[in-house]
């Protein structure tokens, strides 16, 4: 067990496990959906930072 300086909250810990399961599914679906869109010619914006794939820098 790691020691934490903030109380993460028991409910907050548990709900993460649940959400991650749901979110995992929807992202898998979302990723396939965007692959499908790309295949049919809809291009996504290219990322300037080589480190990051799909996200734009916030604040720009």
């Amino acid at each position: 067990m790691i020691l934490l300086y903030l109380d993460p909250g028991s409910g907050s810990f548990l709900i993460q496990l649940l959400i991650a399961a749901i979110a995992g599914l929807s992202i898998a679906f979302g990723a396939n959906w965007s692959k499908l869109k790309r295949r049919f010619g809809k291009k996504k914006k290219t990322e300037t930072d080589d480190d990051d794939d799909d996200e734009q820098d916030p604040g720009t």
């Binding site: 907050s12 649940l18 991650a20 916030p58 720009t60």
Partner: protein, 472 residues
Amino acid sequence: MMTTTNKTQVHNASFRDPSGFLFERDGVLYRQVNQVYAEEYTRLMDSGLYARLVKVGLLVAHTESDPSTGSGQAIESADKNLAFRVLYPERVPFISYPYEWSFGQLKDAALATLSIQKRALKLGMSLKDASAYNIQYQKGKPTLIDTLSFESYKEGEPWVAYRQFCQHFLAPLALMAYRDVRLSQLLRVYIDGIPLDLASALLPARTRWNLGLVTHIHLHASAQKRYADVTVSEARGKRKMSKEALLALIESLRVTVRKLEWKPAGTEWADYYTANNYTDAAFEHKKVLVGDWLSRIEAKTVWDLGANTGLFGRVAAETGANVISSDIDPAAVEVNYRLVKEKKEENLLPLVLDLTNPSPAIGWNNSERDSFLQRGPADATLALALVHHLAISNNVPLVRVAEFFAACGEWLIVEFVPKSDAQVKKLFRSRLDIFSEYTQAGFEKAFGERYTMVESSAVRDSERWLYLMRRK
């Protein structure tokens, strides 16, 4: 605000995290890294995470050498028994707080936090807190200022800062987008973010149809209530969260935040510049006067109060000054912030501020977050088309208006708008004129108690006057 011990002043908001603390010595800001955090700090620097985050402007840069000697010498610590290193971070020109941000500013700060977390996870680290107060606007962009916010990621562990992220960012953004943009002010009451049960109760029922909000806020609040008396280890048992699951959680938060929208429309100032008493000539003349005077006094910091969408603050920014551009109207501030982003402006910070009740000092011992005035003074204050609102709408005697501006800084550029002006006439439409002192002579007399008049000029094509004053 700082607490003084000998010559070193420890920052009053820097006490929760044992990893280290901020202190000031001879007016220079430092961050001590404690021994207990040595391993994590070394990992941040050696993993390449620090360099990557600094490169994209998501983390404040620092050096480990003493700026006063300039010879690469280590900096003297503030507490030798605890110290591992002392950092000299780049200083943010003005510390602002989430209850002073427009919707877009809070949203971009939230997205920056998630972007940092995602990048950290790629390099084996994770954010151990997600406080909105750790994000500051630097060069127009949200930047993490707490270098000690990272810890090694341990496979199987959920995100420790998840609750804090929801309270500090997601809850206020959802309330602003779905209920009322003014609910950002709840952050002023709840310093550790909006309690999720409160957010859940205030959000409209239709937010339960939003997958992100029903999970991260509504279900999250229910789970908190249900497991309130259970310890973390009892609650989770042997359950683990894979890294993929954690990344999915971060992505879910990012999509949820990204979809939240609020558009500035229909508020009192949104169409101000098109529906007022000005002619173009008056407007241009005012810009020239403000620009000339600011250059002449060489103001490095300027507070443009009642700035609307920031037009005159931009005149100040063009002279090279660091500008705070504040307005009471969240729509005007949102428009202003969008302009900053669009034009990639680096030295103008829009803020939501009610001058009749400016941000107070809040938090532990009333000293964790500074009041607006404590964050001054500015070299120059701009009060354009503002005095009539304070004096007439808010019944503040002119001498007290002058007193407030004098507390903001040494120089003042102020506009007097007479009762015959259409904007002032509007204020009298529904009320009695009890303001016999509100004349140009009365204004000059009241301000003369605090200020020396350096220069004044009638504004071309109008009945308005502009003054350059210096505090006595």
